[in-house]
Symmetry: D2
Subunit: 265 residues, 4 copies
Amino acid sequence: REAAAGFRALGAEVLEDAPGELPLAKLAAEADLVVAIGGDGTLLSTARRLVGTHVPTLGVNLGKLGFLAEHSADDLRRYLAGDTPTRWRLSPKMMLQVHLEPLHGAALAPAYALNDVIVSQGVMTRLVHIDMDVDGEHASQYRADGLVISTPVGSTAYSLSLGGPILGQGLRAFVVTPSAPHTLTNRPIVLEGTARVGFRVSGPVDELALVVDGQERLELRAGDRFTVCAAPTDFCLIASGRSYFDILRAKLAWGAAPRLNDAAG
Amino acid sequence: REAAAGFRALGAEVLEDAPGELPLAKLAAEADLVVAIGGDGTLLSTARRLVGTHVPTLGVNLGKLGFLAEHSADDLRRYLAGDTPTRWRLSPKMMLQVHLEPLHGAALAPAYALNDVIVSQGVMTRLVHIDMDVDGEHASQYRADGLVISTPVGSTAYSLSLGGPILGQGLRAFVVTPSAPHTLTNRPIVLEGTARVGFRVSGPVDELALVVDGQERLELRAGDRFTVCAAPTDFCLIASGRSYFDILRAKLAWGAAPRLNDAAG
Amino acid sequence: REAAAGFRALGAEVLEDAPGELPLAKLAAEADLVVAIGGDGTLLSTARRLVGTHVPTLGVNLGKLGFLAEHSADDLRRYLAGDTPTRWRLSPKMMLQVHLEPLHGAALAPAYALNDVIVSQGVMTRLVHIDMDVDGEHASQYRADGLVISTPVGSTAYSLSLGGPILGQGLRAFVVTPSAPHTLTNRPIVLEGTARVGFRVSGPVDELALVVDGQERLELRAGDRFTVCAAPTDFCLIASGRSYFDILRAKLAWGAAPRLNDAAG
Amino acid sequence: REAAAGFRALGAEVLEDAPGELPLAKLAAEADLVVAIGGDGTLLSTARRLVGTHVPTLGVNLGKLGFLAEHSADDLRRYLAGDTPTRWRLSPKMMLQVHLEPLHGAALAPAYALNDVIVSQGVMTRLVHIDMDVDGEHASQYRADGLVISTPVGSTAYSLSLGGPILGQGLRAFVVTPSAPHTLTNRPIVLEGTARVGFRVSGPVDELALVVDGQERLELRAGDRFTVCAAPTDFCLIASGRSYFDILRAKLAWGAAPRLNDAAG
């Protein structure tokens, strides 16, 4: 594509990966730059494939502004033309590592998430019980449809729609937000990024899974346990220098717009 | 003003009341129409002054579209020119009657509200206890900063900002929504319009009052009791025939606009 | 069982239906009383099977107090012994009728719900768009995981866990509560019981269904439309006379219990 | 009192301060231990008076378990008897510094908060506009009754009652939670503890103030600006070693108790 040609014209060695099949983490060890073209969804899968590396990644959106894919195609063209904005900077993003230990069978290889890990049920949802311990200490029992464990990046995604807070992008923290809690006292809790959080699901479960970044699915059964902590490496996103709050306002109309019936006054 | 002249030109007898000092309920008994010019705030105070009458009221907004003041000055001019929109219709609005019975001293004359009655504290808020009974039966104890009792009209005002639901405009019901509940299990409750709801405030109260439609203030002291029920008459608003949902969408961006970070998917 | 024997001893003709297979609505036309023994779940399915009839139903719980199955086995024994509490009374409960009109294929027979009708997704939830019209008028577009349409009875069930209000049991109304709304402005709305509400689902749907009272499942596809209104008959529950607010407090700790960190004060 | 006698019996020099009038920060420079006897409220005021020092503080509750006053009178007696629990440890708590710069008049000395800083209105609340900038960058405009800026310690107090999240006690962060936001899109945001957050209030304000830990009041006028950041020193609380989650569960019934109507299923 155009971008590949542009980089080559600058003398760079370029590998294209339209189908997303290259062993990205291996190649990245020798790469100076990854350019992910698409949208935020593309960035999410790229980030997961780059865990273990420190290669800077440039996110280019083909349509509307993304939370992660902040750069437009024009930005990329200007960059290729040698016009690197001085405001660009590396913005490391904490990722999650999730480790599933089934009650029956061997533990799986860890999965990684840039947005969130979700405990999700099938169509016929039932109340499940999810015990949470933090650094080995019993913390809470959720009685809910499911729950979301979200990074600061993912705090504006699914967690927000369940009533979770927005997390500042510089925090090393994650938030656990229950979905449809049947105990009315369960609230989102924000935990330190150094915490190791264990979960175990029980109850009469029909169809249940861990969903990673909305893209990968790992089956869960009653009695299964999984552990969430920070991933060993951050995702090295090249940020445009645009203010996070600008993006929030543009994408969420956060702190903008609709007013209530404010007649009285 | 222009409107008064227009009505007079049509041979109508017109009383103007810019300062809002006429005994409106008395005069209204002989009036065929009240025209309230201003905004939703003007309509609220007009409605309270018209309790006990059945005179149709036309709400004209001088600026932006209101929830109640739906008609523009141009609409009024066209009406005066004989061009009555066929979609106009009477839309009776349930109002609240609130009766304060102080622990010490005589009961006050009832007050009326088209939007809401609010238990509100001064700057140094403290946890107050508010016992609620419904039709003589103990219902709940709120431990909160205060609470709102709102009509369907008022459900899009203060109650909404505290997490209350939107009530359909045809419902005869009101909603009780606590403000900053310290018991996490207190939720808004929607009660039938025929209910008589009693409240009693206790606890270490500094400065506390009932606020009616955001415009009138009645002092409350610990031990005071007040009762809320439907007012004896509805407010007879002339509606433009515009859909309530259109107004909701226009004023609240309800069901429109801002989207979350929906990358994943 | 014991109850059947007891009724027979009183000279009544008794039909037992442990497997739940009798054509209940047909038989009910000639019955004077239905006794549903189990829990609230048993009452839900009994109510759906009795739509079209007006036979009083007594709900007996075998374990803990239910919202619907208010009577204990001891209550039933006392009743059989001729000791009918004078506080018992008929408490008609509004039910919902849901009519699914698939985009492709014939419309289905209506289904009925005593608690709620839920638009529910499979494990890999995606943002769906649900257009709602009320009495033929476009009302809102939800962008959410799904939504719940709930009766007053069901307002303390799933809808509550999504932030919906509690509806007084005397209201003829239902509440529409979105699940994980991606537009932050979508709030629960309470509609009159006389409303006919149409919904159409669009968007990139994987696995989607209507779930009725948490017990029946009707598949939904993009483009399908369904209509919800009040069912033609109410469910004629025999209530114990116990206050609804007592049940709320007992079951939800509503207006009771947990306090926040209220140090400052 | 008994405690003072106990310490003296051990040969310690003891200063008593029942009326709370000693220049605590000055004296603390030479003290080895502060014992605050009362409840969480006592701890809040003690913490504010100790800013600038690093003296360990033991919180003793005379009644029920506190979030901060974790130790009972018996614990203190055992400690005086030489029986120091090995699980006791220093648990530094981040505090807030708030600096008010009135539009007219000189800036005030900074105030400090262990729980929260609240923008609070008088009885006749009106919609106020609060602009927030973070590290000099415009972040959001709140249209609300007020807002709360809370530490992790305070996250279970007033902020929680407004829908804010619980913050893990090891986080260096604070949460900004609006009260009765009239824009439906304003959500709690959790900011890094290193952030400097500026606020300016505008709008038709009647009676408005900053309330610090629910105990101190600073008048605010339209146009006034205030800045919030971490205080220069932490409050050095002696923790009992009891799990924070145990306290949450004991005090908030967090993750315990009340269940919804879960009939269906």
